[in-house]
């Protein structure tokens, strides 16, 4: 019987797919959690540095190993998966914004003591830069779709530059505010300001990280179109969230 033949053949070279990287990353994250406890709960900096020394190499090696193992071998599901992942991401931002609204609308006095006026021009420029980067990545994808790989590379690199400029402006603004004595612990509004802009900034970092991970293949010229679409989708999401940050945190 064909079925039995297959079965026997399956036993002959019973090979099960493996990958060490998920295991490595997971235990890297364990040491990260341990490091946090050492630093902030038990105030043992040495042990914290030691655990971080284990955690970071494991996580970085894990991500790098995973990327090189999997890059270009996708089944084309990543775009849809990113859609679901963005739903979860959106809920994180939603919880931050809703807690902010809840606190603000419940407060007897707002703003709480110790507030300062946020700059109004800087966020406008930042908005312009981020929207521009969303347009450039869209145009890059469009060129890739038409088969223009050189053009794609140019607009792709431009997107990375714009993202980096945005991040630089964020850091500049933070350092100014902290210099003026407006820190994350000042009051409830400063807490919201730094945590929400920080959360958004961390997403910009991740987005840039995804673009940089794809950079070697882009420079070689063999671009994975599914990867580009997925990375672009994430980048548009980061852009859209920024509108909420600007309107709710800076201008309200």
């Amino acid at each position: 019987m064909a079925h039995d033949a297959h079965h026997a053949e399956g036993h002959a070279h019973a090979h099960w797919d493996t990958s060490v990287w998920p295991f490595v990353i997971s235990f890297g994250i364990l040491f990260l959690a341990v490091a946090f406890s050492f630093k902030f709960v038990y105030h043992n900096s040495f042990a914290a540095i030691l655990s971080m020394g284990l955690a970071l190499p494991m996580i970085i090696a894990g991500v790098a190993g995973w990327t090189s193992e999997a890059m270009g071998k996708g089944d084309g599901f990543s775009y849809s998966a990113m859609g679901w992942f963005i739903l979860a991401e959106a809920m994180i931002f939603a919880s931050f914004f809703v807690s902010y609204w809840y606190t603000r609308l419940h407060a007897d006095v707002w703003p709480p003591a110790g507030n300062i006026t946020l700059p109004k021009l800087m966020p406008l420029v930042m908005t312009f830069v981020l929207v521009a980067s969303s347009l450039t990545i869209h145009y890059a994808e469009h060129l890739l779709h038409l088969g223009n790989k050189a053009g794609f590379r140019t607009w792709y690199l431009l997107t990375i530059v714009l993202g980096a400029v945005f991040l630089g402006m964020s850091i500049y603004e933070w350092s100014h505010l902290i210099h003026d004595g407006f820190t994350i612990g000042t009051n409830a509004f400063s807490t919201v300001f730094f945590s929400v802009t920080g959360l958004h900034g961390s997403h910009v970092v991740v987005g840039l990280g995804i673009f940089l991970a794809g950079l070697p293949t882009v420079m070689r010229g063999d671009v994975d179109e599914g990867f580009m679409r997925t990375a672009g989708l994430y980048w548009h999401f980061v852009d859209i969230i920024w509108f909420f940050v600007v309107s709710q945190i800076y201008y309200w």
Binding site: A2, H3, H6, H7, G10, A14, H15, W16, D17, T18, S19, V20, W21, P22, F23, I25, S26, F27, I29, L30, A33, F36, S37, F40, V41, Y42, W66, E69, A70, D75, F77, S80, A81, W84, F85, L87, A88, E89, M91, I92, A94, S95, V98, S99, Y102, T103, H106, A107, V109, W110, P111, P112, I184, G185, N187, A188, S190, T191, F194, S195
Partner: protein, 523 residues
């Protein structure tokens, strides 16, 4: 056996088995915590520990580990991993490495939870972690935050993985109306996870930020609001009940249809009315956990209405189960016993929940053992029975061998008697005024007898569970060969060999027009 091919595996079946082993270990650990608490409460005053904080740590570990370490991973980890690709005729999940990442993150979460017993200043914040206590205690709140975050992240990537898998990897001919009820239920649960877990992750992150990095989310003196946490927490943790309920009732559907050899009653009503209704309503009821925390009256009324409304889709799912039993040729196998146990326990749990939805009644029984009893009936025990029944049901598929039917039933009956002693008495003394979470009850000496009965019941149910677990271990080692399809089910997971090889089928299956997972041949 090649150990490396187990630890570093990306195969969905092996990942599933890793989930199963981890969650059974977590179940044992959390169960021992419960037994320690029951032993402590067996007499008034200190019994086995003189330290109330020790009791709080047990309370924390029991709740957090049972929910996050046992029920959710067993249901959305083991059953989903093992069964979904087989049920939809896929060779694996869409992202096998992501799957391996989620199981190892789960183990990391369990390790963190178990470390709780060995570190100085363990977390003592219950499984809820309410501020301001959690931001002021000397206990290690960071440990709690990281455990929740890591397990939460594991379930988010698991959710992304399975939604993509079912969307794109179904066998040819397997249309949406031919999916197993379990697949539908689990998809619903994963959608809920994706929407609500991030909110819980945010909530527990904010506690640690407040406590260790000096932010002011929950500090009223700096303009923060302490009730924000309760809202965020329950915005996840109420739907979490459905994250557990949906897959476990899905497991019960599979068992009852297979062992009654009957078409699922009103398939479309169950899927679109029951599962769909629960998914739509589950996000609109969380405020009923805050009835006594203080809120506007109009909000109480609104939440009472939505809370009562959600019993309608849940009721539809119960009708589906009873209807499937009707005119079926019922075989009282061990899995079927557990499934019928779920129907019974869930009915008690569900009906005792209705008074809790009504604010005027809740205000009277809030924070008493009535709530504990109700919760354990509806979720803890019903869910655990479904998990045990499900493990028995798919045991021949996973191991290729048969468990011992006699000891299976013995284990079931002992557990069944034990849980009813414990949790029925809990509801009874709760209505009479016994407050929950007390380390000592010197002010309520009239309940000492009841507490001793409950401690006895806890011992009984522990014996029952131990018999079941031993039965699996012995069956996996030297059970009789079970054959590929011992239950005679047309569902796809039974169409391959037991245990299935890597890749599941030698040639990918496809299904015909008149095939249905519940299309049992009538005798």
């Amino acid at each position: 056996m090649n150990l490396k091919e187990w630890i570093f595996t990306t195969d969905h079946k092996r990942v599933g088995v890793l989930y199963l082993i981890g969650s059974i270990v977590a179940f044992a650990v959390a169960g021992i915590m419960a037994l320690l608490m029951r032993a402590e409460l067996s007499t008034i005053g200190p019994t086995i520990t003189g330290n109330p904080t020790q009791y709080n740590v047990w309370l924390y570990a029991h709740g957090a580990v049972m929910i996050l370490g046992f029920q959710i991973p067993a249901l959305t980890g083991f059953f989903a991993n093992y069964c979904i690709p087989l049920m939809i005729g896929a060779k694996d999940v869409a992202f096998p490495r992501v799957n391996a990442l989620s199981v190892w993150l789960f183990y990391v979460g369990i390790i963190l939870a178990v470390l709780t017993f060995f570190i100085p200043d363990p977390p003592d914040v219950m499984w809820t972690g309410y501020p301001p206590y959690s931001t002021m205690t000397t206990g290690n709140t960071a440990m709690y935050s990281f455990t929740v975050l890591i397990l939460g992240f594991a379930s988010i990537i698991g959710g992304v993985n399975f939604l993509t898998t079912v969307a794109y990897m179904r066998a040819p001919g397997l249309t949406l109306n031919k999916l197993n009820i379990f697949v539908w239920c689990t998809l619903g649960a994963f959608v809920l996870q994706l929407i609500f877990v991030p909110v819980l992750g945010t909530a527990v992150t904010l506690i640690s930020l407040d406590k260790y990095l000096g932010t002011n989310f929950f500090d009223p003196s700096k303009g923060g609001d302490v009730l924000t946490y309760q809202n965020l927490f329950w915005f996840y943790s109420h739907p979490a009940v459905y994250v557990i309920f949906l897959p476990f009732i899905g497991v019960v559907y599979e068992i009852i249809a297979s062992h009654a050899k009957n078409m699922v009653f009103n398939y479309k009503m169950v899927v679109y009315g029951g599962i769909g209704g629960i998914v739509l309503l589950s996000g609109e009821v969380w405020v009923h956990h805050l009835y006594v925390s203080g809120m506007a009256d109009w909000l109480r009324i609104g939440q009472m209405v939505t809370t009562l409304m959600i019993s309608v889709p849940v009721g539809l799912m119960m009708i589906g189960l009873i209807g499937t039993l009707h005119k079926g040729s019922i075989a009282f196998t061990t899995p079927m016993m557990y499934a019928l146990g779920v129907v019974f326990l869930f009915l008690i749990g569900g009906l005792t929940g209705v008074p809790l939805a009504v604010p005027s009644l809740t205000l009277a029984v809030s924070d008493t053992y009535y709530v504990v009893g109700h919760f354990h009936y509806v979720m803890a025990v019903a869910g655990t029975f479904a998990i045990f029944g499900g493990i028995y049901h798919w045991f021949p598929k996973v191991t290729g061998k048969m468990y011992n039917e006699f000891w299976g039933k013995v284990g079931f009956w002992i557990t069944f008697v034990g849980v009813n002693i414990v949790f029925w008495i809990m509801m009874d003394i709760g209505v009479k005024g016994m407050p929950r979470r007390y380390y000592d009850y010197a002010h309520f000496p009239q309940f000492e007898d009841a507490h001793q009965w409950m401690t006895l019941g806890a011992g009984i149910l522990a014996v029952g569970f131990a018999i079941a677990i031993l039965n699996w271990i012995l069956g996996a080692i030297n059970g009789k060969p079970a054959g590929d399809n011992p239950w005679g089910s047309p569902s796809l997971e039974w169409s391959t060999v037991s245990p299935p090889p890597h890749g599941n089928w030698p040639t990918p299956p496809s299904v015909s027009e008149d095939w249905h997972p519940y299309g049992f041949k009538k005798a």
